[in-house]
Amino acid sequence: MTTETMEAPAAAAPTATPPHPLREFWGYFSANHGAVAGLVIIVAVVLVALLADVIAPHDPNVTNTALALKPPFWQEGGSIAYPLGTDPIGRDILSRMIHGARLSLLIGIAVVAISIALGTVLGLVAGFFRGITEIFIMRLMDIVLTLPSLLLAIVIVAVLGPGLMNAMLAVALVILPHYVRLARAAVITETSKDYVTAARVSGAGTVRLMFKEVLPNCTAPLIVQASLGISTAILDAAALGFLGLGAQPPSPEWGTMLADAREFVLRAWWVVTFPGLAILITVLAFNLLGDGLRDALDPKLKR
């Protein structure tokens, strides 16, 4: 994403020749202010996550009971040393949120990476081999889709045992069907086109057809779905963390932070407000980006 946006303005000025695809893409994308805002927020969150060790004012895991439940700096009793206040055992909330950004992004990206890798392979296989293989794969995906996603994730984690790795696996499995369906649908429309027939006639094997010919031509919907998938993954992983089934304390995952702070909601508003706000803003940014990408990449919607 970032490389594309940085290259786009540098592209040559338009002449009679059609605009460079990236430039055209940026034209559509930048017309959508929401999408640009989403992109800016995501870049900011990525920077925060990368520089967490440098910019976090405190160690996220150092406890200090003398400083427990200090309010944010603008309230009476707060201090600028702990800008967003401290949690019930005296850890700096801002620092924990900064380190939490790292975890949340990691969760989102890892979950979607697992899902895309597995999903495209399954979808390509279903689309290429048809018949019984396809029926088996697609029926299985239908079953997964029928069950409410969080319920399925909860059940998987309950069986595998609570923890961040298992939560990520569960969420990856739950969002898998979307990628399988997309990849299969794209394969079926693409394989009837002339370029695939041409490649087949010139002797390309099935694996080559799958990955070198067809896959690059169905990346656009996958990219859109990936952006939306990251938001789902962050949200569901945080929900699992909130239920005590995801990342375990003292890990500064945003959902887990909320779970830790839940019983203090009546006494200290800041311990629950900020981590949730971070989840909301990050998820919103990925949804905005996904919408923008869909509008810019979907040829059907182009005027």
């Binding site: 239908d142 079953i143 069950l147 909130f242 959902g255 949730g276």
Partner: protein
């Protein structure tokens, strides 16, 4: 029509089998011996272990075991809770009305705000109102509802002391369950103030659970309306000189509602998922909280049976929506 119904109904059989397979293997994925898992931490003596192994059919091949499990499920036997020794199905039946009541209120809330908001946004395309509705609904769609619940508690219960924090009704009242729906039971009981107490307890959970469906319905209604408003028959209606209200209410809305109804149907599955989080936050005594509690008590029969039952409920609702959709829209019925 009969053929349509039969095809749709037959399509759920593999899904049902799939759900039972998942539920069946679920308990076998738990690390360790299933009998010891079932017995819990107290442990079990070898003779009893042997006996239970026979009783549960665990000494037979895995496919036979699945067959036994399936036939038990079909007879409504989902095992007993390890904590209360109550049959899982009975516990589910006792708690399910609470979840349904909450889910129905949430979907009504979402419809009452989402439909008008979507319609007006479409009619005033690109106005401030339109951008506002779209912005708010995207925010609602991205909302971590477990946090949203806590924030609403902070504002309405802590700051303004307007609404109760948890439960379905004030502890002052004891209502004998007749329908299981407290809004109805309290009215039947004629106990002073009980109905309003139930309403008060419903407000925040309803908003929390209804937020995501509300956002989805508003977005869907807007885009369906925009599509329909560009159709030729709307232009014809305008050319005939019909009033704006007649065009919108009779000509556009009826056609725009078709995709909206599908979305509402799909949201019902989402609602049951959301209920797990909402019930946990507000200590709402429904099936969602029951499932989460079962996880932490390691009550595997409840987890297994509860997940199966919820899956079947969502599957049945989807089927009903599918059938209703075929009734409303003849095009669907005839294409397949």
């Amino acid at each position: 029509m009969l053929r349509f119904i039969l095809t749709r109904v037959s399509l759920i059989i593999p899904t049902f089998l799939g759900i039972t397979l998942l539920a069946f293997f679920l308990i076998r994925l738990v690390p360790g011996d299933p009998i010891e898992t079932l017995a819990g931490e107290r442990g079990i003596d070898p003779a009893r272990h042997e006996q239970l192994l026979k009783e549960y059919g665990l000494d037979k091949p895995i496919f036979v075991q699945y067959g036994i499990y399936l036939s038990r499920v079909l007879q409504g036997d989902l095992g007993k809770s390890m904590i209360t020794q109550e049959p899982v199905l009975n516990e589910f039946k006792a708690l399910f009305p609470a979840t349904v009541e909450l889910a129905l209120c949430a979907i009504l809330f979402a419809l009452m705000i989402g439909l008008p908001a979507g319609i007006i946004a479409a009619l005033r395309r690109n106005s401030i109102f339109d951008h506002g509705v779209m912005g708010i609904s995207l925010t609602g769609y991205s909302m971590p509802i477990f946090w949203w619940g806590l924030i609403l508690i902070l504002i309405f219960s802590v700051q303004f002391d307007l609404t109760p924090v948890s439960g379905r009704i004030d502890v002052l009242y004891y209502i004998e369950p007749t329908t299981g729906f407290l809004l109805i039971d309290t009215l039947l009981s004629e106990e002073e103030g009980a109905f309003w107490s139930a309403v008060e307890h419903l407000i925040l959970p309803t908003i929390v659970l209804g937020t995501v469906p509300l956002a989805v319905i508003a977005r869907m209604t807007r885009s369906a309306m925009l599509e329909v408003l560009g159709e030729d028959y709307i232009r014809t209606a305008k050319a005939k000189g019909l009033s704006r209200f007649r065009i919108v209410a009779l000509h556009a809305l009826r056609n725009a509602l078709i995709p909206v109804i599908t979305v509402i149907g799909l949201q019902i599955g989402v609602l049951f998922t959301g209920a797990i989080l909402t019930e946990t936050i507000f200590s709402w005594p429904g099936v969602g909280k029951w499932l989460i509690d079962a996880i932490f008590r390691r009550d595997y029969p409840v987890l297994q049976g509860g997940a199966l039952l919820l899956g079947v409920v969502v599957m049945s609702v989807n089927l009903l929506v599918d059938l209703a959709y075929g009734l409303i829209n003849p095009r669907i019925r005839h294409t397949r």
